[in-house]
């Protein structure tokens, strides 16, 4: 089953990161990718996202396209990155999510991806 793994975190933590901390976190994410591959799960589909200050929200009302600055929902935690993982079941997805570095100071949301649109 495919799962979208959404990585949420406190923007304050990222705002004050030193260069070394950023590099260390990057290395942790690389190590996570390696660990997932060892368990037979590919992490190629996934990336970090630019901060919510760069987000744009689009909606169409009465045929008019409305564009607003900022993310859809203003929350304390921001969506900082994502993966799309093909896992055996939810237990494997939870196990991998727990290994994502962002799980330690933020939280990970797991969303199963719809595969059968005929059902």
């Amino acid at each position: 089953m495919r799962y979208m793994i959404l990585i949420y975190g406190d923007p304050a933590i990222y705002a004050n990161q030193t260069k070394e901390e950023i590099q260390a976190e990057y290395a942790e994410y690389m190590a996570f990718g390696e660990e997932a591959r060892k368990r037979g799960v590919n992490t190629d589909v996934g990336d970090a996202l630019q901060p919510p200050t760069t987000a744009t929200t689009v909606r169409v009302r009465d045929g008019k396209t409305l564009v607003t600055d900022g993310p859809y929902a203003e929350t304390k935690e921001m969506l900082g990155g994502y993966y799309i993982l093909d896992c055996k079941d939810l237990d494997q997805a939870i196990e991998l999510a727990a290994l994502i570095p962002g799980a330690k100071n933020g939280m990970i949301e797991i969303r199963p991806i719809v595969t059968d649109y005929s059902a």
């Binding site: 089953m1 896992c87 079941d89 939810l90 237990d91 939870i94 797991i110 199963p112 005929s118 059902a119």
Partner: protein
């Protein structure tokens, strides 16, 4: 000709025998709704067939074979389900076979699915009662005091989440077993307490919930014992012991009018000695594994009460120490409340009041009627009637159970 009795017998036999069948169907086809529908079809056929030809010798095998045939029927009828037909091919030979078949016991896998942490606790409880207890949605709704439609929606949503999120049907690997088992035990204990506390509910259904929780506890202990990678588990045995030791007092807990009788005032001759003996034996066995846990400690406390000839002759010192270690393992103001009572019994009301007064600003306790009722009782014993009166009044104001309210009111009047 009508056979109302036979009809009831068939339904009861079917319900009892189908617990293993439903677990097997669900884990085989990984589709709860399909399994339930097929079992319902099989019940219809059983009512017809068994009334005419009698109840078969091996009812479990009969239900299994029929239900599997019904699964195939349903898959053929619904085109959307047809792509799943290939996975049934292996089972085809069974359908022409009238030999008794041994139904593999998949209930342990199903318990862990029903109590998966990705489901809300409400959903865990409802699923466990329905899929492992075979209890109807109506009865589950009634027991948990929610409208039938709410309970129906809760169950449907939970079953869909299991399917759509890919919650597996498996006994978790050993390294995750302790935390996953903790969830299962919490669900069983919650079912038991829903019956024990009897919140404004129908008393018949409430007793059934206690029996059902004890049955589930027994099944869990047996299944773990027979699972080679897991084996017997101290806390599961501890929970079963705890439930038995509490349930042993069921006939002494209320009077004819349904009013609550406190432990100290209960007629101990009404306690179920056989159940107490079983609970104590289970607890001794559990303690032998040397893995302390909250259920074993609570069972130990209950066993000291069960062995005491009267409230005064209870080993309150030991009980207060056990509450101390319980508070250490699972810090909670309610446990502190119980510890204060034990200390008051062991060392005098004033010592208990020292602890209770220290808890006065606790957010949970200050709105909890039993906190104020306990304070009131200790003030009464410490000969402080004014303080006792105020505490009783506060307890009565906060209490929403009529029987407990009338009990507290009686105590308040006795004070004057």
């Amino acid at each position: 000709m009508n056979h109302p009795d036979l009809h009831t017998t068939i339904e009861a036999t079917f319900q009892r025998e189908s617990r293993k069948v439903i677990a097997h169907l669900i884990t085989t086809y990984a589709d709860i709704e399909l399994a339930e529908d097929a079992l319902q079809d099989a019940l219809v056929e059983a009512l017809d067939h068994w009334q005419r030809s009698g109840i078969p010798a091996n009812t479990g095998a009969w239900i299994m074979t029929t239900a599997k045939r019904k699964v195939i029927d349903r898959l053929r009828r619904h085109r959307a389900l047809q792509k799943r037909l290939p996975m049934l091919v292996d089972d085809n030979d069974e359908f022409h076979d009238d030999e008794p078949i041994d139904i593999p016991d998949e209930r342990l896998r199903l318990i862990f699915t029903c109590c998966h942490p990705a489901l809300s606790q409400e959903a865990q409880v409802a699923l466990t009662l329905q899929l492992l207890g075979g209890i109807s949605t109506e009865a589950v709704a009634k027991a948990f005091l929610v409208p039938l439609t709410t309970m129906e929606q809760r169950l449907v949503r939970a079953k869909r989440k299991i399917r759509d999120a890919g919650i597996p049907y498996q006994v978790p690997p050993i390294k995750h077993l302790p935390e996953r088992l903790e969830t299962v035990l919490a669900v069983i204990y919650l079912i038991f307490n829903a019956g024990y506390v009897s919140p404004k509910g129908d008393s018949l259904i409430q007793t059934d919930l206690c029996d059902e929780a004890i049955r589930l506890g027994r099944v869990l202990c047996d299944l773990l014992k027979n699972q080679p990678t897991v084996g017997e588990n101290a806390e599961s045995l501890g929970l079963l012991a705890l439930m038995l030791l509490h349930h042993a007092r069921r006939n002494a807990r209320t009077d004819e009018a349904g009013e609550i009788i406190l432990l100290e005032d209960q007629n101990r001759a009404l306690w179920d000695r056989q159940m107490i003996d079983e609970g104590i034996a289970l607890l001794d066995h559990a303690l032998g594994f040397n893995q302390r846990g909250i259920y074993q400690i609570q069972a130990a406390i209950a066993s000291l009460h069960a062995q005491a000839p009267s409230a005064d002759e209870t080993d309150w010192l030991q009980i207060s120490l056990l509450y101390g270690s319980l508070a250490h393992l699972s810090p909670s103001p309610i446990i502190q409340l119980n510890r204060a009572v034990a200390i008051a019994m062991a060392h005098g009301a004033n010592n208990g009041l020292d602890i209770l007064e220290g808890l006065a600003n606790d957010k949970t306790l200050c709105n909890y009627h039993l906190y104020h009722a306990t304070c009131a009782d200790l003030y009464r014993r410490a000969n402080l009637p004014e303080k006792a009166k105020r505490a009783y009044e506060r307890a009565i104001a906060l209490c929403d159970n009529d029987r407990e309210k009338s009990f507290l009111t009686k105590r308040l009047i006795q004070l004057a």
